[in-house]
Subunit: 111 residues, 2 copies
């Protein structure tokens, strides 16, 4: 079941609305776990600021965190993104239609 | 060119993070234009509140508005959603992998 109006979608889209959070997810896109300090390295912002972003991603269910000793390992959880994508897919016809129009124009100009 | 870190993506995802705004876009998904009062009808919130949501959608480039006399007609502009979807597509492998695992399990249990 795809939920179009659930608070899950609100949280997912809100979590994705920030460039630092998107960059954190992009660092995790291989599927491998990464420590918080590894994830924080490329950013010019402080470690606590990165951790706040990770909290938002974790609350949205987009990242899981496992603590082993003093190391917290983060992993991507892509499930909520699937729901977001299924919401967006219904609008695909609009850009597909514009691609079709473009293809028709290119074809005409070649005749 | 897909921009992964642009402010456009921030605005698109932020605009989509609200259930009223998603419901407004869903009302426009046929591609037909609708007046603001038509759009506002299904909602329990005030007309000015609906108009504020339309402002956010318009600022994100997701809705265009044309004024004819006293009527404002809104139309969906799906371009920014295509960018959002292209951003999400890179994570598709995660849920496809889980579907593959599920299919393998079903197959095994049938043997």
């Amino acid at each position: 079941m795809v939920k179009y109006q659930g608070p899950e979608l609100d949280r997912t889209f809100a979590a994705l609305a920030d460039p630092t959070r998107r960059a954190l997810l992009m660092q995790l896109e291989s599927g491998e776990g990464r420590s918080v300090s590894e994830l924080a390295r490329p950013f010019a912002i402080s470690l606590p600021a990165v951790m706040k972003h990770l909290d938002v991603l974790s609350d949205a269910g987009l990242v899981s965190r496992i603590k082993t000793g003093r190391t917290v390992t983060c992993r991507i959880e892509a499930g909520p993104m699937e729901e977001a994508m299924q919401w967006l897919v219904r609008y695909q016809k609009f850009w597909e239609a514009s691609l079709d129009r473009l293809a028709a124009l290119v074809e005409e100009s070649g005749e």
